[in-house]
Point group: C4
Chain length 248, copies 4
């Protein structure tokens, strides 16, 4: 078996200059943004990626049909601009596999003419964040001003931070191939799936892409989440008050 | 050393259109059914499969003879229908090994003309089950009606379930090769080897295969198990009663 | 780097029909016997075996010289009989590595004309044993009577026992190549290095080899060990008596 | 992807007869010495080494630029003597990777004409050390007198010590290629980054290299560390005194 297998569903007219990666990670921030964009821009599934570096399992869907775990490549066009999306439910099960898979992603990217990669993720800070910043990293210094102009922050720089997995390696191994790489990481607690952080990330990403996208879906999910958290907090405060009354 | 070594004991007239996998898993349900069927249908050992992805050890048998751990391929004929069985005591020790071994199983299946694979297993629910359902998954949507007609349930669909190891990958990687795959999972506690669940699974499988098989062996083992459990429960209740008397 | 590297110090007249494996294992029983035999029979180092499947480290000797960890092949002649010894301080760090290393050991064995392998080890029983039995396994049924005649026991057969690592695989993979394999396992607590068990194993092995070997070294070490254990037991009993006196 | 990728920034006139390895390890002693020497001798970066055996991540620098983790090769000349330095922030993530990476380091060393390797590290002893000794190991016995003359100690010999990772394997695998190897290990607690131990190691290394190097940087860091430790100790003693006063 090959380490990585890529099945293309179509071969013609699938070039694109931009690739957006939204694989699972902290707070599922990158995945939320990428999945929402594919939906909002009407993305088309163009390839499936399987590998022995993914977990050895299938997912059973709502019809009872089993699907090999893997990643998927979507493509969409907006305002004459073509964008590829790399999404899925898993990353590599081993350290070596992360390198091998990312080289495959970059092979595809090069073949399809990609010149810039946006790697999306979360940046765990250990507490709830009301107005999440979008921390950033680039793989070529000249990209920094563009990210800042779009609302990305570099306050994380100089903290000795690491970016682990596909997001990090797309920048690191991409630079070797001369592909521009920008990593956007939405500030998030790290404890919950975080649509509020995803919503903030989408704003910065939209600015960078120069396209407008509807935020309603992410905002509604963010509000649902915040109401749920507020209810839990109220219940806890009520309980504390009750205990105080009892003591008093 | 090759990743996987297959030693055939005979080469002629070993084609079969059906492969049944019963490797170890939850409640050993699949293994119980497959081992029983091989016994009931008079299966013949046609190949041994060794691999560096199995545990590095030998099993010492009742005569003191050591045998390399591996999987075995049996073949039997019933009513003019030829069936292959993939059984054994171990699965892969690593994630990558599951993929490599399953590709080997599928190579053998293709060589021998297999068109459909039944992957048998257990579905752990965490509590004792009196009338175990047989949860199901298929790798092609058109197979679903046939499974339902035979008594298989798809109530597990839509729960985001995963099927891990050889059972799952035989469906997932089999679909890529155009081989039909049906996974039958007997509901079971997950705590004990479960012949009752195996007995229920055998009913559904017999319907799908269109062959009649004697259930006596599995039913007797199921009754033995249920009597043992009943005795333990009685003893526990007696103890509780005694304690109540003592308190009272 | 190759998976396994074998450096021969001499190439001529190194054939031998017997290989004795004494790598580290339970109670270091096999290692004690093999190291003692090499010493007693005046074995000559004929090859070193290195591999990336051994731990990534060197051992610093008494002169401050660092040596790559690996296994060693010794050869000795006694009464016109040539015997190879496979010894060392480590086994593989991974499951796959056990297979790869054992295939290399068997390649060497075949090249040098080996027709029978004795794999030596311990059999942990969890308590001190006064008269350790030598449990056995063979890779061809016809070898059993010979082992029993030499004093080996097969009381372990039928317990579903496994033999893990090089000892087990030399039998399992050796059988595939038509090389006879006998595993001798000295009963031992499993808690301490056990020269008493090694002494018993040496008796059975000497019978099988048809050579006489001086046991003094192992017997002295066994007596030292037993005296040390006796002292610890006396001290414990004295302490218990003292506590009883105190209470009384 | 290749296991190891070496990118040279220049190809001409980069030969050197000496390689100094200062990768991360106990107390970061080797790394402190190597980094300081590169700085003091004006080393020039001549190559970067990437590998799928390093952790799958990038490091974000102070400018927000992401860099693939890897090791680096520096070169400097002093008094007509050319020295290579192997430094970086990581070692292999797996046992096998240590072997594969070290073979690559030795390939480079051979290509560039290296005849001797100094592997620098720490030797953890579990308590603070005022006057750290420099324990040593060599891969050829004739090197020992030279190390002792330079102030290296062999008191560690005969303790059954192991040297793990790149430092150990550079000696072990280097010896196979006929490259002299000397490992210098600064005695250190093992709990903290230890510039005092590094300072002592630098003295012995300077003697061996026959070059003089300014120690100020390491000495200042050592004094800072010792003052910090002294303050902590004073604070603890004051606290104990206070508690005694309270009791008294």
């Amino acid at each position: 078996m090959k380490h990585v297998t890529v099945n293309f569903f179509q071969e013609d007219d699938i070039e694109a200059s931009i690739l957006i990666e939204g694989l699972p990670g902290v707070g599922h921030v990158g995945k939320l943004v990428a999945d929402h964009l594919i939906d909002a821009l009407g993305g088309e599934l163009i390839a499936e990626i399987y590998s022995l570096h993914f977990p050895p399992q299938v997912i059973v869907d709502e019809e009872g049909v089993a699907h090999l775990v893997g990643n998927e490549l979507y493509r969409c066009e907006k305002d004459g601009k073509a964008i590829l999306f790399l999404v899925g439910d898993f990353q590599s099960t081993s350290a070596e596999g992360h390198y091998i898979l990312t080289e495959s992603y970059l092979d595809i990217a090069e073949d399809l003419g990609v010149q810039r990669i946006y790697a999306l993720g979360g940046y765990g800070v250990g507490h709830l964040v009301e107005n999440p910043r979008i921390f950033s990293a680039v793989n070529m210094e000249h990209l920094r001003s563009e990210v800042e102009a779009a609302g990305g922050s570099f306050e994380n720089a100089g903290m000795g931070g690491m970016i682990v997995g596909a997001s990090g390696l797309l920048l690191g191994l991409g630079e070797v191939r001369g592909i521009e790489g920008i990593c956007l990481m939405g500030e998030t607690s790290g404890y919950i799936v975080d649509p509020r952080s995803a919503d903030s990330l989408l704003t910065v990403l939209s600015n960078l892409l120069g396209i407008e996208v509807d935020h309603t879906f992410l905002q509604e999910r963010a509000e649902d989440m915040e109401q749920a958290i507020a209810k839990i907090q109220e219940a806890e405060e009520a309980k504390i008050q009750e205990e105080l009354n009892y003591i008093g």
